[in-house]
């Protein structure tokens, strides 16, 4: 077990290192820079600014400097958006806002998505199954910004039921959380349905029935536990993605979270923020994937982590 974790952590570090290098190089390939905007400063000022932030050096040198500093825990300071504030502080300020919306959306997606899948599987072939299948197909086909915009127009503008921007009261969480949760909810529903159908036809479900286990308990105890693996696999990256904020949803609803900030930092070419956010996101995804792999063992005792294979 420990050997497995050590191996995976080493792999994770390599992945994060590669992501850092690739992002850094791609970012520098994009034309423009943090100090160029409508009112560009004079060449002398520009040169002085670039020298101050080390942008006058060749890109490989910049990359080397960035990595050396990052390894010491120094991710630089914002060059433009919140001038000279450390990137780490900014991320830690933004992340809780995104995480709060994200956790609500994530819990909602799982708590509604999994039962949807179970119900559809249980009533397979009936109108209930068909209705849920239509709903989930719509859910996985409509992009999040469409859901967000439609909600904004209907609930926010036409009927004026909910506030449209910011996070001021509990009411303002409803639309962003729903827009963020809708796609994963439907996706989880579909995953759960297909793996439930697979499990329900297994012989040990019949054994449970022969024992006299009530149907409800068969579905939620025997079948669900065995059908949960595909959902769990999806939950790892989803958690990381959803907690760090839906880029689009946060932009549409004007939520001061990490996702929106990431988009703005790219538009502004605020290099240290782009790098900081990317590394944060990558580490988070890699960590969640590792957590999920360890959880597999808890869900399915047949999986042997040390051997790296299953069954």
């Amino acid at each position: 077990m420990m050997k497995f974790i050590a191996k995976r952590v080493a792999q994770a570090l390599i992945v994060i290192f590669l992501i850092t290098c690739i992002t850094f190089l791609l970012m520098n390939l994009v034309p423009g820079g943090p100090f160029l905007s409508e009112k560009s400063p004079s060449p002398q000022v520009l040169a002085a600014l670039e020298a101050k932030y080390g942008l006058d050096k060749p890109v490989p040198v910049q990359l080397k400097n960035y990595i050396v500093h990052a390894l010491q825990g120094d991710f630089g300071v914002s060059m433009k958006m919140q001038k000279n504030r450390p990137v780490g502080t900014i991320i830690m300020e933004m992340f809780p806002v995104s995480a709060k919306v994200g956790i609500i959306a994530l819990v909602g997606a799982v708590l509604i998505g999994v039962p949807i899948g179970c119900i559809a599987a249980y009533y397979r072939g009936t109108w209930i199954d068909s209705a849920l299948r239509v709903l989930t197909t719509i859910g996985v086909s409509i992009p999040g910004f469409v859901v967000a915009t439609v909600l904004l127009i209907l609930l926010g503008s036409t009927w004026k039921l909910l506030p449209t921007v910011g996070l001021t009261s509990w009411k303002s969480y409803i639309m962003p959380c729903f827009s963020l949760a809708f796609y994963p909810m439907c996706y989880i529903g579909r995953l759960a349905r297909s793996s439930m159908l697979d499990v329900i036809n297994q012989e040990y479900i019949r054994t449970a029935k022969a024992k006299g286990v009530p149907t409800f308990k068969i579905v939620f105890k025997h079948a669900l536990r065995n059908a949960f693996i595909p959902v769990l696999t999806y939950l790892g990256p989803l958690t990381a993605g959803i907690l760090t904020g839906g880029f689009v949803v946060e932009t549409v609803f004007n939520i001061p979270g990490l996702g929106r900030y990431f988009v703005q930092s790219i538009l502004n070419r605020d290099y240290p923020i782009i790098m900081g956010t990317t590394i944060f996101l990558a580490s988070f995804i890699v960590t969640m994937t590792l957590v999920v792999d360890i959880l597999y063992k808890a869900v399915d005792p047949r999986i042997d982590l040390a051997k790296g294979g299953s069954r």
């Binding site: 072939g125 297994q202 040990y204 054994t207 022969a210 006299g212 286990v213 069954r311």
Partner: protein, 320 residues
């Protein structure tokens, strides 16, 4: 109705519907008009080729499949439409594939314990674990095995767990659905002997389903033969073996290997023509007429009645 009958089925039918496009259904006639009874303490063997409906019949008796029509009686009571929970304690099943029939996520102890919990058979936690340990020892495993998962066992051991699980509720009647066909021959005899010992000890009644006639003959008091959803013949096992009446039973018996080359060489083997017809579209009249070497024109038109041709020897055939 005879008071010695533990199980009795009357005109039991099980059709499965298959959707063939919009609003169009086809039916697989898996079991057609089964009529027989199983006496208390006896073993009724059920043989027939793959897909003839043996397993479906066994499961329908336990109402793991709901019957399409007909009646099932348990100890004189009609259980065709009742709540099954109290009867799940009395009627159990041992499945064909031991590894598939155990929940991979539950330890052996949990699997056995669940049955005990549902029927509230244990007075205390200690009683519960004592029962589990006793059951495991009974089937030739030991009590430490309770904390392990099914995949850690061999096929034979898994089938022992399946048997312990079935016995956990102290049933009176067990459907043994090809309990040994997935196992090695050497293990088969161990399991069959164990089942026999348990029957002696606990006075169990078995419906023993298999396609291996020699195994069935060894364990059964009476044997039923199935062909394409129909029970075609039913008799005491030596009687059936030595004096088969139905043409299908005769062909089956002629295919049983004899461990004596002399007899084997002189024996005439009846080989059936053609393939087994689809149960979705079974032949008219007697379902066996398409392959029967003795078929007459009446067989095509009229369904043969289930008759007692000798004492306790039933068959459904026009030409006997």
């Amino acid at each position: 109705m005879n008071n010695n009958d533990l199980i009795r089925v009357e005109n039991l039918r099980k059709y499965f519907s298959i959707k063939m496009g919009f609003m169009k259904y086809h039916y697989v006639q898996a079991v057609e008009d089964a009529n027989f009874s199983i006496k208390k303490g006896e073993t009724l063997g059920l043989v027939g080729e793959s897909g003839c409906g043996k397993t479906t019949l066994g499961r329908t008796i336990l109402r793991l499949h709901e019957p399409t029509s007909g009646k099932i009686f348990y100890d004189g009571e009609d259980i065709t439409n009742v709540r099954m929970l109290p009867y799940r304690r009395k009627m159990q099943i041992i499945f064909q594939d031991p590894s598939a029939s155990l929940d991979p996520r539950m330890t052996v102890g949990e699997t056995i314990g669940e049955a005990i919990d549902i029927h509230k058979l244990a007075d205390s936690r200690k009683d519960r674990s004592d029962r589990i340990h006793k059951l495991l020892t009974q089937v030739g495993l030991n009590s430490e095995h309770a904390n392990r998962y099914p995949h850690e066992f061999s096929g034979g051991q898994q089938q022992r767990i399946g048997i312990a699980r079935a016995l956990a509720v102290q049933p009176e009647f067990i459907v043994c659905d090809e309990p040994v066909s997935a196992l090695d021959v050497s293990i088969q005899s161990q399991i069959v002997n164990m089942l026999e010992d348990m029957q002696q000890e606990m006075g169990l009644t078995y419906l023993f389903i298999a396609h291996d006639i020699s195994v069935v003959k060894h364990i059964s008091n009476r044997i039923g033969v199935m062909y394409l959803g129909n029970v075609v013949e039913l008799a005491e096992s030596n009687e059936l073996y030595n004096n088969p009446l139905h043409p299908y039973t005769k062909t089956l018996m002629s295919a049983v290997p004899v461990p004596d080359p002399k007899i084997s060489r002189e024996r005439k083997r009846i080989i059936l023509e053609g393939d087994i017809p689809s149960p979705m579209n079974p032949p008219s009249g007697c379902r066996f007429h398409t392959r029967c070497p003795y078929a007459i024109s009446r067989c095509k038109e009229e369904i043969p009645a289930w008759r007692e041709l000798a004492p306790d020897h039933f068959a459904a055939c026009h030409i006997i």
